[in-house]
Amino acid sequence: MTLELSHLNRRFAEYQALDDVSLSIAPGEFLALLGPSGSGKTTLLRILAGLDYPDTGSVLKDGKDFLATTARERNIGMVFQHYALFRHLTVLENIAFGLRVRPWRKRPSRAVIRERVERLLKRVQLDDLGRRYPAQLSGGQRQRVALARALAVEPDMLLLDEPFGALDAQVRVTLRRWLRELHEELELTTVFVTHDQEEALELADRVAVMNNGRVEQVGSPEVIYQQPATPFVCEFIGKVNRFLVRRNGDRLSAGGWMPDGDPWQGRFTEAVAYVRPEQLRLAVPSSQPAWEAKLRHIYLAGSVAHLELHVDALDQTLEADIASEDLSRRGLHAGMELRVAPRSAVLFPREGQGATLNQERWIWHARSPVPA
């Protein structure tokens, strides 16, 4: 089924939870709603589930008004943030709930229900825990029961609200992969809400980045990461270095470094530039423009090393990431001087001190990427 959300607005007493949100959801896709808390992502999910309604705007399912359908008739599987398991029912009874409450004409026979529940238990790898109560399960197990319960009604769409939020890091990664495999197997349209950009980029086919009730950008994880549409997306996704670029005569420059080219043809005097830590070159030959930087600290985080570089010309500290094994190969140590320059950057022009002009975004790449 195709869902077409257009111009959704939802206002709560003190803030605008959704501000003119339009989005389409294709059949079988895995969509992430990504944003900080209060960005409206959960409100959007609840509207899809029929647990909340927009003040204005429409949701069409295959061309028909989806908002006119009540939550119980939408045939949607919802996994709540805190799982919302029925704590007085066993795991088996929890999973069977959606089938048992059906009107008797549509209710499968006891044998069919039992068979389906057993199959789901196997699928979520909880075969032997069917007789337990939720209080006797770990967080990861409860999560999978909630998922099995949502899948038992054979929904047209699966909605997950912060599905991994309450789990510890290791369980989270395992369940994430498992969910991705499950999605590939079932080809069920899935929408999930998360504030964890890593989770969104890793799992989803498409990511909608939300901020202050607006959708800032929708796109594949690659597009979101490499071609961020707004400064917010740059800053929210991954780590990023931010600095100002000013017009100096007919060229843009920042502390002696100059991006080549000017798509704006002299229209703007100032721009905000974003450079990802892995896009900083560390040993630029003196023939090319670069910053003189001092390596202040090296933070070794497993396979990656984070370098803290102070650039006097910018009066700013930048972060660069390199593979940890390159540390000794290149003889890097705290206190040394390096010539540093971006390999690529995303720039947004500004008018004076005002807001950035996001539609004038410039994605800049160094002309001849010399391996650093």
Binding site: G50, A71, R72, R87, V101, Y133, Q136, R149
Partner: protein
């Protein structure tokens, strides 16, 4: 032995046991001892008397019915107080406790004034053929009145802690409203509801003050067991009063044990795995 944050199990347990013994068990033992004065023959004679049997039946049956009514109405009142915000809610909430605070004799007089054939309500009920005052119905009304706060007060905190998302999950899974109530909400409330039921029941069995005013105390018809006990006391038949007291106590105890077993069963999901 495991280290605990707050030590002193031995001393606190001993103290609790002593206290329980002094406050609860000692008077009961004295009562039982006093009751033996009547002798086995006297006891059988007393308990097989039709007037005694009728009184015990009215007391216990009335208490069970009153507690049941309170369970239903109390759930409704608790629900309204917890779930909705309306002007005067705090006042409403405070009013729930009034039956606790009122001297029971005053409550009895008030209820009699209302339900007597010439009272505010009795006047209208009489032509319909409904007699409340001076009948077993009156006994029931008084028992409902004194037991009312128990169910509301025990349920309130549990109602407040019910998570809304559980109801939303039920709805999303296709449950109708009544299914959500009977399959999800009620089973989760059952253990607490039974606690309130047991408290209201115990209160109603032992209630004396408010009931005697409205009951009319017609032997075999609207006479409750505590009244029989008082009558025996007035005739200086202490052993008989004690024996009747023990009988009432044992029957109440059986009822409370049944409720307690039901409660454990309804709460089985809360027991953690070892």
């Amino acid at each position: 032995m495991r280290r605990r944050v707050l030590p002193g199990f031995g001393i606190s347990f001993g103290y609790a046991l002593t206290y329980l013994g002094l406050i609860v068990l000692l008077p009961l033992a004295a009562l039982a001892w006093k009751a033996t004065g009547i002798g086995l023959h006297g006891l059988i004679h007393l308990l097989s008397g039709p007037r005694t049997l009728a009184a015990l039946r009215l007391s216990l049956l009335g208490a069970v019915m009153a507690a049941s009514i309170n369970a239903v109405v109390g759930l409704l009142v608790g629900w309204v107080l917890v779930r909705y915000r309306f002007p005067g809610r705090r006042l409403f909430d405070a009013l729930v406790d009034l039956p606790f605070a009122l001297p029971t004799a005053v409550a009895g007089i008030a209820l009699t004034t209302l339900y007597a054939p010439n009272g505010w309500l009795g006047r209208w009920l009489e032509p319909l053929g409904i007699k409340v005052a001076y009948t077993p119905v009156g006994v029931l009304v008084a028992m409902v009145f004194v037991g009312f706060p128990f169910v509301v007060r025990t349920l309130q905190p549990v109602l407040a802690s019910l998570e809304r998302d559980v109801e939303e999950a039920a709805e999303s899974l296709g449950a109708q409203r009544w299914q959500t109530f009977f399959r999800v909400i009620l089973p989760m409330l059952a253990p607490t509801l039974l606690t309130g039921f047991a408290l209201a029941l115990a209160r109603a069995v032992g209630e004396y003050g408010s009931v005697i005013f409205i009951a009319g105390n017609i032997p075999m018809k609207s006479e409750i067991a505590p009244l029989l006990i008082v009558q025996k006391l007035e005739q200086f038949d202490y052993a008989g009063a004690a024996a009747l007291g023990v009988a009432l106590l044992l029957l109440s105890f059986v009822l409370l044990v049944i409720v307690s077993l039901l409660q454990r069963w309804s709460n089985r999901w809360a027991e953690r795995a070892a």
